[in-house]
């Protein structure tokens, strides 16, 4: 048990060291070093939630285009959106089972 704790602590310290190094390099070089270790678990979660994110982003675009909530747009406005964004509209129709 104590070995697990020690290994976890050491791994954590290593991660923190990496984080510090990343920030240090970033401030020294101005380069953009992409966020690290959490990307592993993040990528799994991302696969699960990316569909929801696509729907949300599309809804935001509709809101910006017509200045109203996507649920309130008319059929004509939907057709206009569909004409301009055929793939997104198709995706939304499938995702929301319209």
């Amino acid at each position: 048990m104590s070995k697990i704790v020690r290994t976890t602590a050491a791994g954590g310290v290593g991660f923190l060291a990496g984080l510090l190094l990343e920030r240090g390099l970033e401030s020294l070089t101005g380069l953009d070093f992409v966020d690290g270790l959490f990307a592993v678990s993040g990528s799994v979660l991302a696969a699960l939630s990316v569909n929801r994110d696509l729907v949300k982003a599309a809804a935001r675009n509709i809101e910006q285009m017509f200045g109203k909530d996507p649920l309130e747009i008319s059929e004509g406005e939907w057709r206009q959106f569909k004409e301009l964004n055929p793939k997104t509209a198709e995706w939304l129709e499938k995702a929301l089972k319209i």
Binding site: G12, E22, S43, V50, N61, P86
Partner: protein
């Protein structure tokens, strides 16, 4: 005194961190990771980051329906911004370049309005520049996407 095993584990953590950074940076992570990052950047209005993540999503992975939709969403977000700016430019043009002998035409000749018109000219210039930048960003998305 720090033990060798502690240092080894620490080094392993460090190497993992740097390794994953590199994988992420060069497009080796799952496609969904990059699509998600692109949409998150778009939400924050960071178009450059959104396009960078979008390009990474198709750099090593075959384009999928999701990447196509994400690309279209980004392009649409840029188009909405351009349209808004163009509307504002058209509004300013009505003030700055009115029809001859219209009310605005005479108002523009008054000396007290000169500084206001100058400020509007500057504002218009700023919008024109922003439109040019957005068009370049959109071209960048289409070219490499």
């Amino acid at each position: 005194m720090i033990s060798v095993s502690f240092l080894t584990s620490m080094l392993a953590g460090l190497v993992t961190k740097l390794g994953i950074d590199q994988l992420m940076k060069h497009g080796y992570m799952p496609q969904a990771t990059y699509i998600k990052a692109a949409l998150k950047a778009l939400e924050k209005d960071d178009l450059d980051e959104a396009i960078r993540s979008y390009h990474l999503s198709v750099r090593r992975w075959r384009p999928s329906q999701r990447t196509e939709v994400a690309g279209e969403i980004i392009a649409s977000a840029i188009a909405v911004r351009i349209a808004k700016l163009e509307r504002r430019v058209a509004e300013l043009d009505e003030i700055l370049y009115p029809r001859r002998f219209s009310r605005q035409f005479w108002l523009n000749l008054l000396p007290r309005n000169r500084s206001k018109l100058q400020a509007l000219q500057e504002e218009r210039k700023g919008y024109e520049e922003a439109i040019t930048v957005l068009n370049k960003i959109r071209d960048n998305l289409n070219q490499r996407g």
